[in-house]
Symmetry: C2
Subunit: 441 residues, 2 copies
């Protein structure tokens, strides 16, 4: 919210051009941090400007609302203006400038630059500088809104106090050259006053005579909503939901976050593929920011909408699904391998089968004592084969057993017949559940 | 619907005790079938008794409904009686007698035997005989309602004509000994008249004086609904839905089928685990038949509710999911293996890097021409490393690239540096998407 830190003003050469190979580790180890905030140092560590903006605005709004009746037209306009200024952040600050995920024509850039100012979240350059560091150093101390420091910290706590250390290096030289961004930087204060409070007061005043309602609802309270809506991208989106593309870091996908943030809730995807202009890849997922950008393209105001190669997106999903299934695979009980079973001669098999119900199927000897009376085909069909070879009958001669039956059978192995698989059915000695397996490279 | 075929009356010895090892193939090859039904032989091939029952009943019901106002009480009673007689089939005929998936006390057995008669679908023994053949020979010509013969055939067509061949052998000697089943067999005709039409007429007559409504709605029309509801288990359940447990045969799982069949719609599960008293394994899935059996157990009227070992159920699911993911895995493009790439000397790498943008990372040489300007970290960070080794920078020294970045990088391989992986980072030469793989045994 404050003014941009010194290091990112007017740097035309990339800030990270000569970054050393061990930058991350080295910086985390050697750079001094401001240390923890405690009750003792709280008052000297607060960022008072941000505290006022973030804490007084909602108070002001609530008091105003208490004394100002809400008109339907003003309410609808406030919602509309919430979406507009929200898009200034999501489609403008975030996807266009911080991530360069598409190109915008000059008129669209000015439009987004004005709307973004109306969200009062700092200049484009300051915001993008922090956001690029957030992506580069996600979940580390070089990430200005490090989610590991807790929900409240990543939501707004980080702005209420002085930054604990400089955000990690991130290049914004591309933004320093941009005339629209320079313009916004130069006129930032008037812009937030006009777009944050002027416009939302004047429009309801001129059109239906509700200046006070416009100021309170479309100005002040709308601003609180835009704030917390976009803050949710740093808090909620790093806590709630699934990780369908990668689980190395905290970002998550959830429709609730998407609804709260004009479509920025598919944040696991976004952190994996930050240069993609989409956050949601399925058409039925809620991503109005994507729809807006796409519409701008149709109107000829945006171009070069970037998407990550679908092949690689699917690979990420595949890896995550395999990871889950591998856990299942490891939790299940599997049959004994032929190497772990005693090798039994035909005579010994005959001998032992007189004492307990043993059945030979494709080279394995099975103890079916617990199953005979449960057998859906009837006990008699198994009893008949005690001490015999039931391979052909079991493999479809009498009944083509289901894969489940094959899997169950394999769990009852107690030995291997000496001489191996007499039927040359080797492939069949492998139960269906083991023909496909997740293996580590 | 007709009387049981001669071969299954009073056979106390299992019909399949001396079944030869090649029964299925042999029978399909040598046994004569009645041949196809054509317009020429239609009239001699019809099963007139069943045609009357199945085609005249709905007609009668519609005409009756036209002349009989429907009272609310009668309507509710008809629905109630639909569920009762339906349960006679699903909890009685199907899960108790055909599949022995639990034990029922004598009172419960008589209760189910009476209700089942009210569904007018043939005697327990005839029905179970056919159903066991359906499970043993699913989707073959020995399956009396072979789904491969089309939706209508498996729904009811098979009953309208004379059976094309005898259903495959299935043992019902356990049923032949059962006094309840013997009783039903002996009194079958009076039982269907009493339970199918008598009871649903008399109850509304005595309680609220609507004999005609009871006959038409709770008797005739309710019967049509029970018929088609249970027939759906042979038709819809073999057509609609997913195969989460095995896809060897036609049975499918779908909630719509479940709703239409009092819970018999998780038919893919059921064909894999026919001795399981459940069809739905999740608590939130619709399986009132399971709930009924479970309640009977709580009342002490049922016992020995069988379930298939969970370990094996999960194996089936795992196999099916792996099968699907393997298709994904095979459809995706994967990076070239080091064996398929040219081995390049350091000098040659330097030479070629002057002509096109080549970057060395963990022993592989990559052509990044198409990517430099797309790079979210900025072109300068890549340009800086052309003709150099970017391994440390890429692997977190400067930025800890996402798995997606690693996967994308591997797709750009054009050569291997002579001398192999100079960093001993061998594990890292494998992109994250290839660390877990579905392999065939
Ligand atoms: C010895 C180990 C055996 C095991 C673990 C076993 C397992 C099973 C299982 C789980 C079923 C349920 C249906 C299915 O999943 O396919 C089944 C059904 C059946 N089994 Fe077995 N079986 C064994 C041996 C045999 C043998 C030796 C025969 C024949 C000679 C046989 C004949 C049948 C028949 C005919 C059915 C069909 C029952 C029906 O659905 O009506 N089984 N068996
Ligand atoms: C040569 C092949 C390279 C490829 C294919 C590649 C790919 C990518 C991709 C896909 C991203 C997006 C974020 C992510 O997925 O993690 C990214 C970001 C980044 N890359 Fe690379 N990269 C390459 C080389 C390099 C090198 C050599 C460096 C450093 C010297 C580097 C530094 C960065 C930085 C700092 C970012 C963060 C951008 C941000 O989020 O603000 N990249 N890279
Ligand atoms: Fe984030
Ligand atoms: Fe982002
Ligand atoms: Fe079936
Ligand atoms: Fe069944």
């Amino acid at each position: 919210m404050g003014l941009p830190p010194a290091d990112s003003v007017d740097n035309i050469v990339p800030a990270d051009l000569n970054i050393p190979d061990n930058y991350v580790q080295h910086t985390l180890k050697t750079q001094k941090s401001r240390g923890p905030v405690t009750l003792n140092n709280l008052f000297s560590e607060l960022n008072y400007l941000n505290c006022v903006i973030l804490l007084v605005t909602p108070l002001l709004g609530l008091i105003g609302a208490f004394y100002t009746p809400l008109q339907l037209k003003t309410a609808l306009f406030a919602i509309f203006y919430y979406y507009l200024t929200g898009l200034g952040i999501t489609a403008g600050y975030h996807r266009l400038w911080a991530h360069r995920s598409y190109n915008a024509s000059l008129p669209l850039q000015y439009f987004l630059c004005f709307l973004g100012a109306g969200a009062v979240e700092g200049s484009i350059k300051w915001w993008s500088r922090g956001h690029r560091a957030h992506h580069r150093y996600t979940d580390t101390d070089l990430d200005p809104y490090n989610a590991h420091k807790g929900f409240f910290y990543s939501h707004m706590g980080w702005m209420l106090i002085k930054p604990r250390r400089r955000p990690g290096v991130a290049d914004v030289s591309d933004l320093s050259k941009n005339p629209v961004i320079k313009f916004q930087h130069r006129w930032y204060l008037p812009l937030i006053l006009i777009m944050g409070f002027g416009v939302p007061t004047v429009i309801p005043w001129l059109l239906w005579g509700d200046a006070k309602g416009g100021y309170v609802y479309a100005g002040v309270l709308r601003l609180c909503f835009v704030h917390h809506s976009t803050f949710c991208v740093n808090s909620l989106a790093h806590w709630l939901g699934e990780s369908p593309f990668d689980d190395k870091h905290t970002p998550r996908d959830h429709v609730i976050t998407a609804l709260a943030t004009i479509g920025e809730g598919y944040h696991n995807f976004h952190h994996q593929f930050p240069m993609d202009y989409r956050n949601a890849i399925k058409w039925y997922q809620y991503d109005p920011t994507k729809w807006f950008i796409w519409s701008m393209q149709k109107l000829g105001l945006a171009s070069h909408l970037k998407t990550f190669p679908d092949n690689e997106v699917r690979k990420g999903q595949l890896t995550m699904e395999l990871k889950k299934l591998r856990q299942t695979q490891e939790k299940l009980a599997w049959p004994s391998d032929s190497n772990d079973l005693p090798v039994v001669s035909w005579e010994s098999y005959q001998e032992q089968a007189k004492k307990r119900p043993l059945v030979l199927i494709s080279g394995f000897i099975h103890d079916v004592a617990t199953f005979i009376n449960e057998h859906p085909g009837g006990a008699h069909l198994i009893v008949k084969f005690i001490g015999k070879d039931a391979t052909t009958a079991f493999f479809g001669g009498v009944y083509d057993h289901s894969n489940a039956a094959h899997n169950l059978l394999a769990m009852k192995r107690v030995g291997v017949l000496h001489g191996g698989m007499p039927h040359g059915l080797d492939e069949k000695g492998i139960p269906p559940s083991q023909r496909l397996k997740i293996a580590r490279y």
